[in-house]
């Protein structure tokens, strides 16, 4: 989901990568995008990042896990 959404948001979809890590009972999704595309996944006032985080949190709870999105810069 995160990969598909991020690819729809950026100018360089082939640079989008998500790594999944376990951190103290929490699933952390680390989102990597091209440096020039960081703004496209963060948005004005961080609103795009906030929206992505809301979806990741809810997608996690639908699967019974605590999930968090981290945008790696």
């Amino acid at each position: 989901m995160v990969v598909a959404l991020a690819r729809g948001l950026v100018d360089q979809p082939d640079q989008v990568r998500v790594e999944e890590e376990q951190e103290g009972g929490e699933t952390v999704l680390a989102l990597y995008v091209a440096e020039d595309d960081l703004g496209q996944v963060i948005g004005r006032g961080g609103r795009i990042a906030h929206s992505l985080r809301v979806l990741v949190r809810h997608a996690g709870s639908a699967r019974g896990v605590r999930a968090r999105l981290e945008i790696v810069d």
């Binding site: 598909a4 959404l5 948001l9 496209q40 004005r44 929206s51 809301v54 979806l55």
Partner: protein, 164 residues
């Protein structure tokens, strides 16, 4: 597939609507919501994506947080159209937008009464641009009231005050 020389790549359908549809479907799948998306255009050139299906109800729990997130992303997933404009995107499920608009109009009327009664500014909570638009429009025909927005996103909020 080929032969007529007409190629439409994913995400580049007419006005980028396919990009919106693909993104919303991916999000619904990720959320584990069993539903489909119907996209139509309203009279104000806004794209309205309605999520319908057994799971749609889940999107409007928690004060519409998920629906608002989908709507905000929807606006960005929609590529600019051929003439470079970016259209507004509304994402709705289970009649939520109508109910929310009704509640916001009620809030706007209450704030207007309060402003007139006390002769002072009433500051509303921070809202999304879409919600602010509904409040502004609810009061725009009132000659005794003016509204404006203050602050930066995502803390931008409406001030309702008596007209001079």
């Amino acid at each position: 597939m080929s032969g007529d020389g007409h190629i439409v790549s994913p995400g580049e359908g007419p006005d980028g609507v396919e990009g919106l549809r693909t993104g919303l479907r991916a999000a619904l799948e990720g959320l584990g919501v069993e539903a489909d998306v119907t996209i139509s255009e309203d009279e104000e050139d806004t794209l309205v994506a309605v999520v319908e299906g057994p799971g749609a109800q889940r999107l409007i729990e928690d004060g519409g947080e998920v629906l608002d997130a989908l709507q905000h992303l929807g606006g960005r997933l929609l590529g600019p159209s051929s003439d470079g404009r970016r259209r507004r995107v509304v994402v709705d499920a289970a009649g939520y937008r109508d109910r929310r608009a009704e509640a916001l109009r009620g809030l706007a009327a209450l704030a207007a009464e309060e402003a007139l009664e006390h002769g002072e500014e009433i500051e509303l909570d921070a809202m999304t641009p879409q919600d602010r638009r509904i409040v502004h429009m609810a009061l725009q025909d009132r000659l005794d009231i003016v509204t404006r927005s203050e602050g930066e996103e995502p803390r931008r909020r409406i001030i309702v005050e008596p007209a001079e």
